[in-house]
Amino acid sequence: MQIRTATPADIPFLITAISEAEKSGTDILSYQRIFGLNDDQWQNLLLNILEEDMLGQELCVSGFLIAEEEEKPLAAVCAWVEGVDDMPSGVIKGNLLAYFLPEENMTYATENLKTLEGFNVHRAMGALQLESIYTAPESRGKGITGQLIAQHIRNHPEIKVVQITLMGDNASALRAYEKLGFRVVESKTAENGAVKNLMPGMTKILMQKEL
């Protein structure tokens, strides 16, 4: 098995990885629910954003490491250092969404965005962030994402803190990250029941590992 940085040729696999990771083991893809996007619209939006390759946030081709065997991708993990150039990743991603989302989908999302206000955890500036952690179903249980995470950490020798966000209902992911030395440092549970129609869970968790 080889580990390498993703290239634009990997975008189709990355679209799968990002989508499935976002669903967190459910059938709810938050971007589609929030913005009223069908599958083609969502994939087109994500393609446009990935082609910009903006560093410092989770929807960035260059931020991904891919594990592959015989040129077939098996798993992917995205990483970035939070607050690069003093820009929080949320602002960079928000900029990309604002630019590429059609006006009608922004209008559709107005009430949904109000529902989700405050439903977030706080990434630490300067911490290495890990997102879109995905292994193809047939390759699970072999510790591949653990190897990708370890490689991301080796690629950032200056980093002292590593963080992961996940949905609290994803018990298997929580256990897997605990085995890798991560612990829960922040948890946010939505009070508005409507959140369950928009997100793959009612609780967001931030896990952290000190190096």
Partner: protein
Amino acid sequence: MDNVLSEVNKVFRSVFQNEQLDVNETTTANDVEAWDSLTHLTLISEIQKHFNVKFKITEIMKFKNVGDMCNVLRTKMNG
């Protein structure tokens, strides 16, 4: 506070639902609670509607603080 900053402040107060909020040219996302990716997306969308402009992606990506946003707005409004 000039007119552009004053109008931008109105949008911020509306998006963050906080009539006490006062942003200035140096305000960043780190200074305002609940300024995350979805709030930021709403901010950009509402600013564009309020000022009847469409930002280029190269312009949006340079917004490190409210002042950067105001400067682009002033340029666009001055033609």
